[in-house]
């Protein structure tokens, strides 16, 4: 018997002109011990399904049946369903930073459910809570139980949330994007934990995510959701390896893969825009974006079984051989120019910030009198980094949160003042230049931001924003300017009619393209791209990444491409620098960095990266212990977490820089032979054109 059975679930918000159909006709089943992944982009309705199961949506909006262990939940009264929440069905929310009550101790928050649902006494509940914290891998449960949420890191908080979800021994566990807000290495830890728990307790797991790599890691079956409808549902292996629905194919095709890099191979994005849920199109909901659409797609679609799964496409088998159309090539301009002098150089750059004063200490003035003085602490965000980027070269900077990568990008652009070292651009030292002398520099070095919404002034039209960049750089005059702006908009793929539109009228991907156009207005030679695709949906990422590559090739642009996603970087960059806590631990051409010899941190990153391809053998995975919160004063910056730490030498002496190949540098105490003996973490091969670098 299935644990959870959703039949024909339809959720419609609002009435009349503001009606929104969030879900339509969802059918889904989960068996005990099974992990089902619910995959979709933003707006697909995946969270809505979770909320409907938990009865946290206004019942008037919900139509359909949800059965749990044979009981009909939809017919149950509100109190009984509330009782099931947290005890038999548990939900773990997405954001660990806001999901815990800031004023209640952790122990009490975990124990609450036990007292409310199982009627335990406070003492019994507290002790069971400690057990739960231990089960999720927290080393010192007593200390954590006494703490408040703000005293714990993100990874710890997520574990606490999982613990409080497990504490009443639920039969079904729903996890709504539990690792999206976490670093890759922490994500790997949490995913392992979830797998282990689900195996041990034999609970059913509904895992909601947008990341197909994560799906590959932990799911048994996959359900692909788009605009509130199930488009494909089947075993993970077959769906990911041979997708049938065009949307699934499009998704898989638009994800950059780790290790497979050919600059001439472009990602194949899904064109068009997300449908308007207030006015959904008749027939297939994916029709407007599907390259294989035909007249027959205008009829209402049914979910039908095809081989080992369910697909909502009447042409699925027919088009399974058709190739997904590739976007037009920008032209076969050679990627490499002969003259590769350094455009920008960072020489031993450091940056430290003063922390806000929170405590005082007593110092002795004149030998005897104790005088209170504020304790001034500084944190070194960047510690002696040297990096150079040649003209037209794309350098990828990869690191997790707290590594200092954003700060480094801004130091390169003199948006933040470095505390030490030099910044040299095009031969001149601009470290200490005054603002008014930097005008010329600023024209040649621009930035593209991560968050598309915050990067555009909501009160300026697109045309106005780009036009201003033109005017300031002295390139556009008067009537001529509009034409120039439109040309630029055209170049980045924005329709000309967007000139008079405001940012809120554009989608995320379109806003990002507007930001790129603005950066290009002054004809720069260098662009710092600060996680430019991290905030975009997967299908949109591909378009923007293609754009970046095309522009670089066409305009000889150099990039400092910052990201936490190794797959994206490996697709885009010529060289990679791996950043950990303010120090570069490995640097070199992409293909060399991705193959052994590895720095242990690079190896861990590669191992933790979730890819939609290939099989994952749990045994070979490297999982780092601990959190990304400690900074060290001396020795290797990776000490304490390094799985290959030798001993005290790693804690006292700065590691030497090894150079296994020209241009490829690793900072590690381990001898090169040992590092080179590691197994390759990257599936697939490189094409010949990269080996020449």
């Amino acid at each position: 018997m299935s644990l959870l059975s959703i039949k024909d679930l339809t959720v419609t918000y609002g009435t009349g002109p503001s009606r929104l159909q969030a879900l339509k006709g969802i059918n889904l089943e989960i068996s005990p011990g099974e992990t089902v992944a619910l995959v979709g982009e933003s707006g697909s309705g995946k969270s809505t399904i979770a909320m409907a199961i938990m009865d946290m949506i206004d019942r008037r909006s919900v139509v359909g049946t949800i059965e749990f262990n044979g009981e009909n939940l939809s017919a149950m009264d509100a109190d009984k369903r509330r009782d099931m929440r947290g005890s038999r069905i548990s939900l773990v929310f997405q954001d660990p930073f806001t999901s815990l009550n800031p004023s209640i101790r952790i122990g009490n928050q975990v124990a609450e459910g036990l007292i409310a649902h199982l009627g335990l006494s406070k003492r019994e509940a507290q002790s069971k809570a400690l057990d739960a914290l231990r089960e999720v891998g927290i080393a010192d449960p007593e200390a954590v139980a006494k703490s408040y949420p703000h005293q714990l890191s993100g990874g710890m908080r997520q574990r606490v949330l999982i613990a409080s979800a497990l504490v009443c021994n639920p039969e079904l566990l729903i996890l709504d994007e539990p690792t999206t807000a976490l670093d890759v290495t922490i994500e790997a830890q949490v995913l392992d934990l979830i797998q282990e728990i689900s195996a041990r307790r034999n609970v059913g797991v509904l895992f909601i995510t947008h990341n197909l790599g994560v799906v590959n890691k932990i799911a048994d079956r996959v359900c692909v959701l788009y605009a509130g409808q199930v488009l494909e549902l089947g075993p993970k292996g077959s769906v990911l390896r041979s997708p049938l629905h065009p949307y699934t194919r499009g998704l898989l095709g638009s994800i950059p893969r780790l290790g497979e890099r050919d600059r001439l191979r472009r990602l194949t994005p899904i064109g068009g825009r997300f449908p308007n849920l207030a006015d959904p199109p008749a027939g297939c909901i994916f029709r407007d974006r599907c390259p294989f659409a035909e007249d027959g797609c205008g009829d209402a679609q049914q979910v039908r079984p095809v081989s080992d799964r369910l697909v909502k496409c009447w042409r699925a088998e027919e088009v399974s051989d058709f190739r997904w159309p590739e976007p037009p090539d920008a032209g076969s301009v050679p990627a490499v120019t002969a003259d590769r002098r350094a455009l920008v150089e960072l020489d031993s750059v450091s940056k430290s910030f003063a922390l806000p004063v929170t405590t005082i200490e007593w110092r002795r003035a004149f030998g005897a009198i104790p005088v209170p003085a504020p304790v001034k602490k500084r944190v070194d965000v960047i510690n002696g980094i040297s990096l150079s980027i040649a003209q037209g070269e794309i350098v990828g900077l990869v690191g997790e949160s707290g590594s200092g990568k954003s700060t480094l990008g801004r130091i390169m652009l003199r948006l933040i003042q470095s505390s030490g070292g030099r910044v040299v651009f095009d031969g001149s030292d601009i470290t200490a230049s005054k603002e008014r002398d930097l005008e010329g520099f600023r024209r040649k070095a621009q930035i593209v931001f991560q968050n598309p919404t915050s990067s555009l002034n909501p009160r300026r039209t697109i045309g106005n924003a780009i036009g201003r960049a033109f005017t300031v750089s002295g390139n556009g005059q008067g009537a001529n300017r509009r034409a120039q702006v439109e040309t630029l908009m055209d170049r980045v793929g924005l329709p000309k009619r967007y000139y008079d539109r405001y940012p809120h009228q554009l989608s995320g991907g379109e806003k990002q393209r507007a930001g790129i156009a603005r950066a290009l207005a002054s004809h720069p030679q260098l662009i710092v791209c600060d996680e430019p695709v991290s905030a975009l949906d997967v299908s949109v990422q591909a378009t923007v990444l293609n754009l970046f590559l095309d522009l670089s090739r066409e305009l000889q642009l150099a990039y400092l491409f910052i990201s936490h996603d190794l797959a994206v970087i490996s697709h885009v960059a010529d060289r990679i620098a791996v950043l950990y806590f303010g120090k570069i631990v490995e640097e070199g051409p992409t293909n060399r960095v991705l193959q052994p010899p590895y720095h242990p941190y690079t190896e861990a990153l590669l191992s933790a990266a979730a890819s939609p391809d290939g099989d994952h053998q749990p045994g070979s995975r490297i999982v780092l212990s601990g959190d990304t919160t400690r900074r060290v004063a001396k020795g290797c910056v990776f000490q304490g977490r390094c799985p290959r730490q030798i001993g005290s030498i790693c804690e006292t002496m700065t590691p030497p820089v090894l150079e296994p190949a020209p241009g490829h540098r690793i900072a590690c105490h381990l001898p090169l032979e040992e590092l080179a003996a590691a197994a390759s973490r990257v599936p697939g091969k490189f094409t010949a054109s990269q080996e020449s670098k």
């Binding site: 946290m56 929310f93 815990l100 004023s103 609450e112 408040y148 703000h150 929170t358 005082i360």
Partner: protein
């Protein structure tokens, strides 16, 4: 947390020093020569000059200031020109009366304001919410002096229920004392209750929409637990801050209310002093009022620090 407390304390002291300078300087600029006032209309220039010397009015300003401040620090506020009594005792009496009035009003404001705000938020868009909203709307639109006068017209003149002014003595007749306090307290309470309840309502609504409250609901906890254990403590934190600011409103309102009801408190004393150009009395009254306000703010800050774990315990990562 110790650092936070010390920082606030130092700030208060600094502010008080600045205020004292401000007060002293401004009153120096006041029209009407003090000596002239004391001497009377027909005094001769010699008499006036003598008084000036006696009061030390010919010394440089800084010296006069220092004399005044050092006097205050030992409790000597000087001599009232008009009443010919030590200012200190005048203020002490008046302050006692005002403290009673303010204290009672504050308690009413806090209790009723929070109550109304929470109820309005929990029963959002219901009849109760709309009723409370209308009430608070009207409350913040009516000036205290008008409201006081309306109350007097109703209860004192028309219904003859309560006295229209003055103060009773608690020790001789508690009932009479309470009767005299009733209308002033109600007047002061009304405007502030409106203010506090609006803020509590919006703060409560925001908290009820937060992720952690959603999480508490997802754990299947009863609505009562969610509202009172999870939402309310967090919603009250901004209210605490505003209650402190409201003490300032309270003090401001007290001046007007005491005038309307002829209540012998420090506000009325201050107005009296201003009308008569009684310099020492003005300076001392304003300084005392400012001191109370600063201390109230400090108390609110400390309470906030105690209640907010982020400040109380700091970051474990440090």
């Amino acid at each position: 947390m110790l650092f936070y407390v010390l920082k606030r304390f130092v700030a208060v002291v600094a502010v008080l020093i600045v205020i004292s300078i401000l007060v002293f300087t401004i009153t120096q600029v006041m029209p009407g020569d003090v000596a002239h006032t004391i001497a009377g209309q027909f005094a001769t220039p010699d008499v006036i000059a003598a008084i000036r010397v006696k009061l030390g009015l010919n010394d440089p300003v800084a010296v006069q200031y220092w004399r005044w401040v050092s006097g205050i620090l030992v409790g000597d506020f000087g001599q009232s020109i008009v009443m010919e009594r030590p200012v200190g005792s005048l203020i002490a009496d008046a302050f006692g009366a005002s403290a009673v009035l303010a204290g009672l009003s504050f308690v009413c404001v806090a209790v009723l304001g929070i109550l109304f705000g929470v109820v309005a938020a929990v029963r959002k868009d219901g009849i109760v919410d709309h009723a409370i909203s209308t009430f608070t709307y009207v409350g913040i639109s009516i000036p205290e002096f008008f409201w006081g006068i309306v109350l007097i017209i109703c209860f004192a003149n028309y219904f003859q229920l309560l006295p229209s002014g003055g103060m009773g003595s608690f020790f001789s007749s508690p009932a009479d004392w309470l009767a005299h306090l009733a209308l002033p307290v109600v007047t002061l309470t009304l405007t502030l209750v409106a203010h506090v309840s609006r803020l509590t309502r919006s703060s409560m609504l925001e908290t009820l929409n937060s992720q952690y409250v959603r999480n508490a609901r997802a754990k299947g906890l009863s609505e009562t637990t969610v509202v009172f254990r999870h939402a309310l403590p967090n919603a009250l934190m901004p209210t605490i801050t505003v209650l402190a600011l409201d003490i300032g409103w309270l003090i401001g309102g007290i001046v007007v209310v005491e005038m309307v009801f002829s209540y012998p408190g420090i506000g009325r004393l201050l107005m009296f002093a201003i009308e008569r150009h009684d310099l020492p009395l003005i300076q001392a009254s304003i300084l005392v009022i400012a001191l109370i306000y600063c201390l109230a703010n400090l108390a609110a800050d400390l309470l906030y620090a105690l209640v907010n774990p982020k400040i109380r315990y700091g970051n474990a990562a440090d």
